[in-house]
């Protein structure tokens, strides 16, 4: 049950959506598939005054083949995207991560934009209000301590988008539309590197499209999870290779994907790339798997993935 009292708005276009956001003086949230937002509202992690549903804005769902880019509408469904021929032909890393996202039913509801903007997760945070209250609020809930790492003054929640690592290896850019008009940013600039507030979006801004350079890449995605179905990643490793350069991205072990460029033949530099990632990541005991195991699995999945992808490159 959603405890908070809400208004529901269903704008016909982006301008109207932004106008509604202003009307509620910032205390509104945008809704796409709802697979992250609605559970958050049910747990009391999100208590907006209004929900602004973007689903009736049809231009947001299309995939366009532009000269140098593939433009993916942020509200395109995961299930539709993974069957899209352009995605399959050009971006195998993304296709694999779409396939690995949650389960088929949730893929039919969830959108690519929503997947990118899902909030970061922690075993001590994604709980009912009663549970969280009894433990004492953590940094991400506005409290003063971290419940995962005693004494820590930083939040360690994990950003668990399956598709962000893949899109990072593809050098994706984002189109955002807000009260000040349209702006574009590199995907890596979306992230604050702070797990309690993971995104650099301005108030009222809507992620409207994801732009991926139209280059035929080789690539893939490997995911560590307990069950073969439904689960969020406990570690996600993506790799893409194009024009002689590889890119490796590691997700779900911190507040953003960690991306490393591999200029030399990628098969020969896996160790180096993994080392560069390991310097930055900081998995802690806030998932159902041991942090040390997750850390060690980075090199295992990276080696398997890079070698497999490069085998197919002539």
């Amino acid at each position: 049950m959603i405890a908070s009292k809400l208004e529901f708005k269903s704008p016909k276009d982006i301008e109207e959506a932004v106008r509604f956001y202003r009307e509620f003086q910032g205390e509104a949230v945008y809704l796409s598939g709802g697979t992250d937002l609605v559970p958050r509202m049910k747990l009391g992690l999100e208590k907006p005054k209004a929900v602004i549903d973007l689903k009736r804005i049809s231009p947001l769902t299309t995939v366009e083949d532009q000269a140098d880019w593939i433009r993916i509408g942020a509200l395109a469904r995961i299930f539709d995207l993974k069957q899209n021929e352009l995605i399959q032909d050009f971006f195998p890393a993304l296709e694999a991560s779409l396939e690995a996202t949650s389960c088929e039913s949730l893929q039919m509801r969830g959108t690519i934009g929503g997947n990118l903007l899902q909030n970061s997760r922690c075993l001590f945070y994604n709980q009912s209000e009663f549970w969280r209250r009894s433990k004492g609020f953590c940094l991400k809930m506005g409290g003063e301590r971290c419940n995962a790492v005693p004494g820590a003054k930083t939040c360690f929640a994990n950003y668990c988008s399956d598709n962000a690592p893949g899109l990072s290896t593809l050098s994706a850019e984002l189109e955002c539309t807000g009260p000040d008009g349209v702006r574009w940013l590199n995907l890596e600039d979306l992230y604050t590197d702070k797990a309690d507030k993971p995104f650099n979006l301005r108030p009222g801004e809507i992620l409207t499209a994801i732009l991926v350079p139209k280059k035929r890449t080789a690539g893939g995605y490997k995911k560590l999870r307990v069950r073969g179905a439904i689960d969020y990643p406990l570690l996600g490793v993506a790799f893409s290779f194009v024009d002689g350069t590889g890119k490796l991205a590691v997700g779900a072990v911190g507040p953003k994907p960690y991306v490393v460029e591999m200029k030399k033949p990628p098969q020969d530099t896996i160790g180096e790339a993994v080392k560069a990632v390991l310097k930055q990541v900081r998995p802690v005991g806030n998932t159902v798997l041991d942090p040390d195991y997750r850390k060690r699995m980075i090199s295992v999945l990276a080696a398997k993935l890079v070698n497999k992808v490069m085998e197919g490159v002539k």
Partner: protein, 159 residues
């Protein structure tokens, strides 16, 4: 708090509803329309026991707001049988022993129904991929997969 007027087609019947913006489709179905086939399991969209068909596709009704569904077609497990004649999938679940406690069964049957409507002859792998959207804590899934497989290999599904 403004309420929302929503028109839904539920099991073939058109209805106009006046709902709270925070009301989920599962609450509308169970509490308002007394269609208690869809079950609340986790309540967070993970387990699939609240699955209904929304415009033909399996949807977790516990995380869909009724307000966002104006104009949608909803099929619940109550809408599957033709009068007293059970759907072939329902019969198959009974015949193959794919039901134990039964809590996940409505969601399982509807997920399978949607798959067979989209793909009358799915491979075993495709069945497993679709059905893995729903959790069952009793059967171990084997009988469920067999029940779906039996229907897909014997007849074309009805719309």
């Amino acid at each position: 708090m403004a309420r929302c007027k929503v028109t839904l087609q539920v099991n073939g019947k058109s209805m106009e509803l006046d709902v709270k913006p925070s009301e989920t489709l599962l609450e509308t179905l169970r509490d308002r329309l007394e269609l208690t086939g869809a079950k609340e399991g986790c309540g967070l969209g993970a387990c699939g026991s609240c699955t209904v068909l929304l415009n033909g596709l399996p949807t977790r009704s516990c995380i869909a707001l009724t307000a966002e569904l104006d104009g949608a077609e909803v099929t619940t497990i109550e809408g599957l049988a033709d009068g007293t004649e059970l759907d072939p999938l329902q019969k198959s679940f009974m015949e193959k022993g794919a039901v134990q406690c039964g809590f996940c069964t409505p969601g399982m049957v509807l997920t399978a129904k949607s798959l067979l409507n989209r793909n009358a002859r799915p491979t075993r792998q495709e069945i497993i991929r679709s059905m893995s959207s729903n959790l069952c804590r009793c059967t171990g899934y084997k009988k469920i997969i067999e029940a779906v497989e039996a229907v897909s290999s014997t007849e074309s599904p009805k719309k």
